[in-house]
Symmetry: C2
Subunit: 326 residues, 2 copies
């Protein structure tokens, strides 16, 4: 735990009671002036901290900012999110995480940012990333896997994210194969899995997750919505806490990643199927150079979508786009 975390913890524990500068000096081992400087910096990050010359400091407001000391506070994970690096603005959290993973950043480290200049979607597409209202995060994983197993990571990530969103909002989040989360048929979240690998060994995986939390649907690309806008169809609520959702995402990711490691992907397939918006639907499969309609029939433990052609033949879809046909 770093010094800022120690100071914040003390203020949190203090509640409405002031904590004296002297006590903060003792627990942090730094001078009163150094404490003051750190308090000033925390205020810049959005913390409300009241200072009284005789009484000390008191916490009056906590920012909903995607910063380590907030996300790590009471986070119930052992690996994922134990190291968090936060930015105000980056090109793309996947790009940053990829570069850091190449330099050896450990499994479970997570990059968060308030906004992305070149947010990445699947197949080289953009991910719309306005500032301060959504979650953009990338997690470094280093599983012992071959490259052809990577769809399993997207599979468990989709289940983990859909369940975290359900738990957090109470809304029926569904999975659209392979990597979108829908609510009421609208896209609220995308998952982008990238890797560095040898022919038969994954070096690392960067699991990127973008969630439209509080952004306005009218500002999002067609077909998109946000958790806030979908929540407001049920009740009038204020902005959702990104920090609380981020914690749930990390905890759910760790839980499902552990299931994958301990029991393999078959242990998660049933949950995936139960959450699927794709299975049972009529779909249009768009591959490079060809496209066809079929019925989405099943998902196999490797993460491939199995569709039934009108001829009755089953075909595995490993890549490409799958559009739901009305």
């Amino acid at each position: 735990m770093n010094l800022d975390d120690k100071i914040l913890d003390a203020l949190r524990d203090g509640g409405e009671i002031y904590t004296s500068g002297e006590d903060l000096c003792k627990l942090s081992g730094i001078s009163r002036t150094a404490i003051w400087k750190r308090i000033e910096k925390m205020r810049e990050e959005g913390y409300g901290i009241t200072a009284s010359p005789h009484l000390g400091y008191r916490l009056t407001a906590i920012p909903d900012a995607l910063i380590p000391c907030e996300i790590k506070w009471k986070l119930k994970t052992k690996i994922i999110g134990r190291e968090i690096i936060s930015y105000k603005k980056v090109d793309s959290t996947n790009t940053v995480a990829y570069e850091l993973a190449e330099k050896g950043l450990r499994e479970g480290a997570v990059i968060f940012t308030e906004s992305q200049v070149k947010g990445k979607g699947r197949l080289g597409r953009m991910w719309y990333s306005p500032s301060g209202c959504n979650i953009y995060m990338s997690c470094i994983l280093r599983p012992k896997m071959t490259p052809n197993e990577i769809p399993k990571i997207t599979l468990i990530a989709a289940v983990a994210v859909a369940k975290a969103i359900r738990d957090f909002t109470g809304l029926d989040a569904m999975i659209k194969w392979p990597n979108d989360i829908l609510i009421n048929g609208k896209k609220v979240c995308g998952i982008l899995t990238e890797m560095k690998a040898e022919q038969d060994r994954v070096d690392f995986i960067v699991l990127g997750i973008g969630v439209n939390v509080n952004s306005k649907s009218r500002d999002l690309p067609a077909g998109g919505s946000s958790l806030l806008d979908e929540s407001r169809k049920i009740c009038m609520c204020g902005d959702l806490s990104r920090v609380e959702l981020a914690k749930k995402l990390l905890e759910s990711l760790e839980e499902h990643y552990n299931i994958l490691k301990d029991k393999g992907s078959p242990a998660i397939i049933d949950e995936w199927k139960a959450l699927s918006a794709t299975l049972g639907s009529r779909v249009r499969v768009v591959l490079p150079g060809r496209s066809f309609e079929a019925d989405a029939h099943n998902i196999d433990p490797d993460g491939a979508l199995v569709v039934r052609l009108d001829s009755g033949i089953l075909e595995k879809v490993l890549s490409g786009d799958v559009l739901m046909v009305r």
Copy 2:
């Protein structure tokens, strides 16, 4: 073609006849002083160039250096090797090529080096890379592929490299699955295929090839040999030309890469089988956590090795080590 290439081409065309400084100025469009400076630089690279005050310049020796103007000279490829970047020393050509590919370096670009500080082998191992005697190269490929197709690249590369070495040395180069080239049962070449990929789309592949050309077997790790040492078992020959072999490697790679793109991997499987040192052998398969003996039975078009267990069951081997059992 750059200026150095133009000047060298003129000197090559001149043969034993001097080419006047004036002619070189005309064809290159630079001053006599600038020509002189470039000639000096070429001498540093190992070219023998005789200068006569009245007659001009004459080429007397060409270095066997892995530099663009030598490798590109009469190179018969359209894509692979049309861009060549050469180094004296790098950590690893795969690392350099990977970084350049991330910055957008085009398909077919090839990195060569005279020595590697941290030459990379498969599964995180080292590749012994002494200076000035061998070939260390990495080629950037950008095929439209899914990540699980990457073994096909190793497959065609192994065939391409084995055939280039056979053509160049006359020796019976064989393929040991998945990525080694053997002569007389000794390893003379390794292939390391790395990629950056999304779940369902390869971004780029870095195909690394290390060939022991003129190094001494006694300096190589156990089980290794060089083309020169294996050649000397048949005839007394001097050092082999790395530049000529490099050209053959690039040409053979392009030929087989085109076959893969046009006709798919089944078109190369038969050649692979004919060159295989593994098929028909008793092998020990070493996987993470288990190891077993079996008969190497077949290779499938995806690049997997199919082994027959003693129970008669066929099993696909996608990763791990396959040792030949005596």
